[in-house]
Symmetry: C2
């Protein structure tokens, strides 16, 4: 935690791990200098609240390391996750004062933050940032719509398989691995978080994970480490036969 903080403070844009994917990806060196002036790093511990829905948000940020979730909660406590923020993803919305959703750090995290006002000014003066943000927002919209199909039309088993597919894909993309043959990854979510993502109860999640294991679609090492012997089989279980189509 301490080394993480020190690491963050001494970080330069040049060697930033998300440099090529984040909102700053299109910036040239001049623009990076501008960004550098208004950026600051912030660290969060696993379980910490980053923002409450309705709260004032005076900054926007890029996820540098770690995982966060966006959730909506109804008065009676029913919870739906509406976004999973991974490294390079953007947090917050320019042009809006308050947070729309709860943002929770699922793991220890580092954010690269920008005070909102200066960032908005920078956005209007350097089109590269707005361009990249538009691109990222369009991708997120596609992902959200893909997720609407999962929530609205898939069975519990298909939902679990879909989630595993997505995490596997993102993991592979991050590590430049192929999604063929045997694949291995860690689940960054508890059963409850999976349930909130999938619109299920945690009991149903547990049962369906067990069922996929029983049927040889996946193997488990501990509760969180997943081994997928045949990725095509998993995709079939997810109902995304053929082309599939999940983004990043």
């Amino acid at each position: 935690m301490l080394s993480e903080a020190k690491f963050a403070e001494t970080r330069q844009c040049g060697d930033c791990p998300i440099r090529h994917r984040a909102v700053c990806a299109r910036c040239d060196s001049d623009e990076l200098v501008q960004l550098d002036k208004i950026k600051f790093y912030r660290n969060y511990e696993a379980g910490q609240m980053i923002a409450w829905a309705g709260d004032q948000m005076d900054f926007v940020a890029s996820v540098v390391t770690g995982i966060a979730t966006l959730t909506q909660v109804m008065e009676d406590g029913r919870t739906q996750m509406v976004g999973l923020l991974l490294p390079s993803d953007f947090v917050g919305r320019p042009g809006r004062e308050t947070a729309t959703y709860n943002v929770v750090a699922t793991s220890d995290m580092t954010l690269c933050c920008f005070r909102k006002k200066p960032f908005e000014q920078l956005m209007s003066s350097t089109p590269h940032i707005a361009q990249r943000l538009l691109e990222m927002t369009l991708d997120e919209l596609d992902a959200a719509r893909e997720w609407m199909l999962v929530l609205g039309r898939k069975t519990a088993r298909e939902k679990i398989a879909s989630l595993l597919c997505i995490i596997a894909r993102r993991n592979a993309a991050l590590q430049m691995l192929a999604t063929e043959g045997e694949i291995t990854f860690d689940l960054p979510l508890t059963r409850e978080a999976m349930a909130d993502y999938l619109g299920l109860t945690l009991e149903t999640v547990s049962r369906q994970v067990s069922a996929l294991k029983r049927d040889g679609v996946i193997r488990l090492e501990g509760k969180r480490h997943i081994i997928v012997p045949d990725f095509d089989r998993l995709m079939q279980e997810a109902g995304d036969d053929g082309d599939g189509g999940f983004l990043n």
Copy 2:
């Protein structure tokens, strides 16, 4: 239909009904001249396919009049609507060759189309268009996430009430009416389309509409005309007590 087409051909940007909300909303008169050069109107009849998922899309467009839907379809036919396109909404994605979803005209429609290549060039030269598109995309993303809560966590009755709320709100916004006291509007969707939007079967939709009628939450005139005596009551039924929070 004929008068509609003629109407479309003679249309000038100045008196366009969606001028202040569409992707061109921020444009000054010079920029409108540029847009004018590459725009053309296209009419569709109710039920017509505007684009098939996977097909080449050589234009983007704004909805001028009418309603269209975005849908995803699984191999076995399960269908989920992922977007409802109303006047001023944007169709298509700059920087992408093919359509991601099926786009279907639900009513007779007029689109204001732009060939994609010139539009993309215009986007990079006139930041006002990209700015507005970013804003609209962020709004759509919020709407999609709101919908994820509906799909994932609400009961059938709440889903129906939520849909009615949204349509009522959009209708009120379009006609500059208040959402208080008695509200009246037409359902632009069949029971099946509602089911595809809500992740239900059409039978369940029918039953829950009847139940809301039986309980006095709504009244019906014919199958499609809805009367809401008390909008707050409807919102309560939707589970959006208090602040609510649906965007339009």
